[in-house]
């Protein structure tokens, strides 16, 4: 639950989600390249890989291995109604 907010707290991870929203199912290298181009990220491959691990453990990204490629898919489902407990008239603590 709180893992989702922690995952979203980092700008690089938000850029990764942006990238996957723009083009789902990218590999690690693909993401590195596009992040460097679009957002000026100079992060190494390992840095992005660790961010992807964290996003996966938060349930926001799912991984599909195929041969030597690993495709990353965004799962926006946990993001729905994430802040409803504070915006909605009815509160739902957890």
């Amino acid at each position: 639950m709180g893992d989702i907010f922690k995952a979203l707290a980092d700008p690089t991870r938000r850029h990764i989600l942006d990238e996957l929203t723009d083009r789902d199912g990218q590999t690690l290298f693909e993401l590195c390249g596009r992040l460097a181009m679009k957002h000026g990220h100079a992060s190494t491959r390992q840095a992005i890989s660790q961010h992807l691990e964290l996003l996966e453990s938060a349930g926001l990204v799912r991984t599909r291995r195929e041969g030597r490629y690993t495709f990353h898919h965004i799962d926006p489902e946990p993001l729905r109604n994430l802040t409803a407990r504070w915006t909605a008239p009815q509160r739902e603590e957890q």
Copy 2:
């Protein structure tokens, strides 16, 4: 923008928002007491105060001074459509 996600990344700050949603306009001491009771928080007054500062700088809490009391009000407006860029069909990078 990212300040909002950072603010929400901490469980104590989420509990503070829960408390203010339940009962808006609490003072610092009031919040400390109710957090200790409901959520088992043993945090000191200063800890809660610093969390409130961060929530205020993120635009989620507004402060109203009245005599020696400082009332804290939740502003859920920044939380609306916070994750829309990933859940909606149309993306909006920032």
